[in-house]
């Protein structure tokens, strides 16, 4: 396994450096500045904004909410949080000049998906809770 890891790691280094070389050699300075801003901006937005917010929300939820509610909220947050993040360009992006692009009502669409997710998770929680109680000390 040691040898395999060595080979995979070495290939990875070479491939990654090739990418860096492509980036540096095929883009002029203005473009490179913009690319570096986007590369660094993503990390900063995640590590300094999104992740701390989620961690703090988790700590608050752990102190304030009972387990079942917390579990359901966590599932809703994972599903809807990531869906919302990946839909930001269609929800808040630029209005295109092309009538066949971004031609849906995305706010309604998002609300629809959000309601379905909330209802499904709520029903799932109720069913699991019932089953858990049924199988508990009084059930059998």
């Amino acid at each position: 396994m040691r040898a395999t890891r060595g080979v995979v790691g070495a290939v990875g280094v070479v491939v990654g450096l090739y990418g860096a070389w492509l980036l540096l050699s095929r883009t002029d300075t203005d473009q490179l500045v913009s690319a570096v801003l986007w590369l660094g901006g993503g990390v900063v937005l995640h590590d300094a904004v999104l992740a701390p917010v989620v961690v703090v929300a988790g700590v608050v939820a752990a102190r304030a909410l009972p387990g079942t509610v917390r579990a359901s909220l966590a599932v809703v947050a994972v599903v809807l949080g990531s869906l919302t993040l990946l839909s930001l360009p269609v929800l808040f992006g630029r209005e295109p000049a092309n009538p066949t692009l971004l031609d849906r009502d995305y706010t309604t669409g998002w609300l629809l998906v959000a309601s379905i997710v909330v209802v499904v998770v709520a029903c799932g929680t109720l069913v699991l809770e019932r089953r858990r109680r049924g199988a508990g000390p009084g059930g059998r």
Binding site: M1, T4, R5, V8, G9, G12, V15, G16, G19, L22, L23, R26, T27, L32, V33, S34, L37, W38, L39, G42, V43, H46, A51, V55, G58, A62, P66, G67, T68, R70, A71, A74, V75, V78, V79, G81, S82, L83, L85, L86, S87, L88, P89, V90, G93, R94, P96, A97, N98, P99, T100, L101, L102, D103, R104, Y106, G109, W110, V113, V117
Partner: protein, 379 residues
């Protein structure tokens, strides 16, 4: 009252963070990145102006599938990446060891993780913005997305090599090997399942762009699939600035070969044998749609102009600007029976946004190279 300080790894107490969870989600994420990388390389190659070995013309739906998979795999990777990063976030606050050989290893691993996270977030973010035809940056999307993809896949390989022992130890064990959480709350298995669910919801909500029967379900997809003649448009006639030239009464398709130029008016083209082919149009942005195209076989036009078989031709649009106003059509495409100078879409004359009076439509070819508003073909 406690004072604020930089957190340490042990300050993060959630038991949901475990190598068992990270390994499982990491494997799925690695697969989706691998799929994105391979399909992306293919798309990059297929879009080269003059590839050494042309992409084969069959299957006609090849690019449609690879590019649809590329965009969908990237979309599904968003929840996987977010949860994956959440499970390892405390490691950001690992204190580096004292100066020694370990410190060097530590710093090297940190550098590879920084490259991996930066490139992963970059690829997903720019990809998702790009499919809405929005370019809020100064770099060339194609060049930069391609270069950063190599950085991502390289640093991913390094990461796999470093973490392989951890994964091998964590995978065979049950995810919830220390029992259910004491105060209730989500189990690790619950978190993993929620992550799969999030990826599934992301796919369903957007896949209608490339999977026709999901169109009514995919309420967050970039295109509804509607458009003139029931087909979306990537570049409109207005954006291309061709309306006047395309509707001019003096329009003729010029075919030049060896110093000789033949001109075909729309009537000339309509008086030639008409064929109908069902071929998909598949855009790099991931949307695709199959349609019934009518028109003249390109080979018939080339024959009439005296261009011999086996000739690579250059196809030019009436557009005056635009990176894709001209494209090369390898001989295998020019001679393929299904390659048409299309005049008709779904039984009606082409609408101006679909390339009136004539456009190229060929099997297994990226949409940007299906030249609209055909002006000139030269051998």
């Amino acid at each position: 009252m406690t004072t604020l300080r930089v957190p340490e790894t042990r300050d993060f107490s959630s038991r949901l963070r475990s190598p068992a969870v990270t390994s499982r989600i990491g494997i799925a994420l690695g697969i989706s990145f691998g799929v994105c990388f391979v399909t992306g390389l293919f798309s990059h190659y297929a879009q080269l102006p003059d590839p050494v070995v042309p992409v084969p013309t069959a299957p006609a739906w090849g690019y449609r599938v690879t590019q649809g998979v590329h965009v969908l795999s990237g979309t599904a990777a968003v929840p996987l990446l977010l949860v994956k990063l959440w499970t390892v976030f405390p490691r950001l606050f690992l204190r580096p060891p004292r100066p020694s050989r370990e410190l060097l290893v530590h710093l090297a691993e940190r550098a590879s993780i920084a490259a991996l996270v930066a490139s992963s977030v970059f690829l997903l973010a720019t990809g998702l913005v790009n499919i809405t035809a929005w370019y809020p940056w100064d770099f060339s999307f194609r060049t930069t997305h391609y270069a950063v993809a190599w950085i991502a896949i390289g640093s991913l390989a390094v990461h796999v090599a470093v973490k392989l022992p951890v994964v091998r130890e964590a995978l065979p064990r049950d995810v919830d090997d220390d029992g259910p959480p004491a105060g209730g709350g989500l189990t690790r298995r619950g978190l993993v399942r929620a992550t799969w669910g999030a990826a599934g919801v992301a796919l369903l909500a957007t896949a209608g762009n490339s999977v026709g029967w999901l169109r009514s379900v995919s309420v967050l997809s970039v295109r509804s699939g509607d458009g003139p003649q029931g087909l979306p448009v990537t570049r409109t006639a207005r954006a291309a600035g061709v309306a006047a030239a395309a509707t001019s009464a003096a329009y003729a398709l010029e075919v030049s070969h060896g110093g000789r130029t033949s001109a075909f008016t729309l009537e000339d083209l309509l008086s030639m044998p008409q064929r109908t082919e069902t071929l998909p149009i598949a855009c790099v942005e991931g949307w695709s749609e199959s349609a019934s195209w009518g028109g003249v076989r390109l080979r018939d036009v080339l024959d009439a102009a005296g261009v011999p078989r086996g000739t690579t031709v250059s196809v030019e649009s009436l557009e005056e600007r635009g990176a894709f106003r001209r494209s090369t059509l390898p001989a295998s495409y020019a001679d393929d029976d299904r390659t048409l100078v299309a005049l008709v879409l779904g039984g009606e004359p082409l609408s101006i946004d679909h390339g009136f009076p004539a456009r190229l439509i060929a099997p297994n070819r990226p949409g940007v190279k299906q030249t609209k508003w055909l002006g000139r073909i030269s051998a």
